[in-house]
């Protein structure tokens, strides 16, 4: 089974971003960038499928600026076999990324595409579902377990109040949730090995995809901040405050 994994380069999980003073966006200059955490889970899952003899080849794909090659090298170090960068400096919104991925899917014909459920920068949670629609493939979002059963993919997925199990025909699209796996640490020998793996670069115009943004960001502002609270010295004082001042219990 051929597996395609889509990954995104985002501001690192631990960075607290600042809104630019001109309100055009957040300041990403000199900020640490990393692979989106849910995409790391996606790569890990693909590698585990290969280690278990289910997957035969893993292709990592990223869309964006030249520096995404670093993120792709990380995916290769985790265990992807080769990588494709769809290089552009233009702003890419989820629908455009889904169309770029569709072009790659039509070319590579994977049996399974795994994506993170959500990127932690724009917090959209859209690309996997959009790709599934464009490719007319079944989707299982928010996956916590995936298994190949009689040529179909059985996926446990997180839903409000619990979980459900779906059976998808292949090829299929899966997006990852937290409990799917815990990504491994990358070892130095694997980083060295990753440097020798193939990384192809293509461009949206080579793929014939129009990536013009459909949404225009008018401004980006600071969220309203809470006014500072008070310290209470004891449980008794807390109860008094909640009952008489806040009146919430």
């Amino acid at each position: 089974m051929k597996v395609l994994v889509a990954i995104k380069r985002v501001v690192d999980y631990n960075v607290k971003v600042r809104v630019k003073s001109d309100h055009t966006g957040v300041d990403t200059a000199n900020v640490k960038m990393s692979m989106n955490p849910f995409d790391e889970i996606a790569v890990e899952e693909a590698v585990r499928l290969k280690e278990n003899g289910v997957a035969t080849e893993i292709i990592a794909v990223s869309c964006g600026v030249t520096q995404c090659t670093e993120t792709l090298r990380t995916a290769l170090a985790i265990g992807a076999d080769r990588a494709i960068l769809v290089e552009t400096a233009l702003e890419l919104q989820p629908l455009a990324v889904a169309k770029l991925l569709l072009a790659i899917v039509l070319k590579e014909k994977p049996d399974l595409v795994i994506l993170g459920k959500q990127a932690i920068d724009d917090d959209c949670n859209q690309t996997g579902q959009m790709l599934a629609a464009l490719a007319h493939m079944p989707q299982a979002t928010f996956a916590s377990k995936i298994e190949l059963v009689d040529g179909r993919l059985e996926v446990s997925r997180e839903i409000d109040g619990g979980s459900e199990v779906l059976s998808l025909q292949l090829p299929a699209i899966v997006t990852t949730d937290l409990r799917l796996n815990e990504p491994r640490f990358i070892t130095l020998p694997n980083i060295v090995k990753a440097k020798k793996k193939t990384l192809d670069v293509t461009r949206p115009e080579d793929l014939g995809v129009d990536v013009t943004p459909r949404l225009q960001t008018l401004k980006v502002s600071e969220p309203s901040s809470r006014k500072s609270g008070i310290k209470v010295a004891s449980v008794d004082e807390l109860i008094v405050q909640l009952k008489t001042v806040a009146k919430v219990i």
């Binding site: 917090d123 464009l134 459900e164 401004k219």
Partner: protein, 310 residues
């Protein structure tokens, strides 16, 4: 401007999130319809018909829609969507699953988790775990939106019922099959709509202690239970209790954070709560910076004391 709101339900009862979504829809359009999709869900349609200010409820029933499979549900909405300028879903597991699929089928952008309607084409939404708010203008003819329910008051029910119109259910797309569902039965309020939430973090130490310490407090307060990502990762609490950037966004009247340090990703999910109480023994915990009432104490003595004295 015509809006279509996708009802959130379990084939038996209408989920409250639908009422908040209708409120957002009324800010976008003067005519609002609600679409109920499922099987054996007439009661849901009847309940939806009592929401104030609706034009009509559309009811699509069939085997293909019984389990909310995204492929079939998106196709069903697609069959109706071109009559509308706005299609709105609650930003729930189901809404997030279907809305982008629909948007791609319509070749339009999707707006995720909007918290404010500036005008029918302009919306506010949080980005970067709530560290920034983006105001976006959508130019596509149909806006496909998921609604952060905490951003909008619920539209009241109790109107003279609006008409219910049956629509043809789409055929099964044959792409996926439902196998089973495991939904925990609980008498507690739903996390997403609860008035009071008691939430635990990594400092709870184990699943047993999480339950032993927090369940009595939640019972006493009639509260829903929540958890930080750290607590979920450690296996102390189920995934759907997770409050935060990648879990649920909540805004109850009272949020009690117990043993939660307050990573930005967690704060993103609860900082719009009306009153926040933090109980933590680490004086430097970031949770104290958003708390209205901060109690620096060992949770294992403070919480039982609180339960005893309430």
């Amino acid at each position: 401007m015509n809006a279509l709101v996708i009802a959130e339900h379990d084939n038996h009862t209408l989920k409250l999130a639908t009422l908040n979504t209708v409120s957002a829809a009324r800010l976008c359009a003067n005519t609002v319809d609600v679409l109920v999709m499922g099987q054996g869900c007439e009661a849901v349609a009847q309940e939806a018909a009592q929401i104030q200010g609706l034009n009509q409820v559309l009811l699509a029933q069939g085997e293909s829609l019984a389990h909310g499979l995204a492929e079939n549900v998106a196709e069903q909405v697609l069959a109706l969507a071109r009559e509308y300028t706005h299609v709105l879903f609650a930003s729930s597991a189901q809404g997030k699953n279907v809305a982008p699929r629909l948007a791609a089928l319509l070749d339009v952008a999707q707006l995720s988790d909007i918290s404010h309607v500036v005008d029918p084409n302009t919306f506010e939404r949080s980005i970067y775990a709530g560290n920034a708010v983006s105001t976006v203008l959508a130019s596509d003819p149909i806006k496909v939106i998921t609604v952060r329910t905490t951003g909008f008051d619920a539209t009241p029910e109790g109107a003279g019922p609006c008409p219910i119109k049956a629509v043809q259910a789409v055929a099964d797309q044959g792409l996926s099959r439902f196998i089973r569902q495991e939904v925990a039965k609980s008498d507690r309020p739903e996390l997403a709509g609860a008035k009071i939430i008691v939430s635990g973090g990594r400092a709870m130490g184990s699943a047993e202690k999480f339950n032993d310490v927090l369940i009595p407090l939640a019972d006493k307060l009639g509260a829903a239970l929540g958890a930080s990502r750290a607590a979920v990762d450690a296996g102390y609490a189920p995934n759907d209790w997770q409050v935060g950037q990648t879990g649920k966004i909540v805004a109850p009247d009272l949020y009690v954070a117990v043993g939660i340090s307050g990573a930005i990703q967690h704060l993103a999910g609860m900082k719009d709560s009306k009153v926040i109480v933090a109980i933590n023994k680490d004086a430097e915990a970031p949770i104290f910076s958003v708390a209205d009432f901060s109690l620096e104490a060992d949770l294992f003595s403070a919480v039982p004391e609180l339960v005893a004295k309430l």
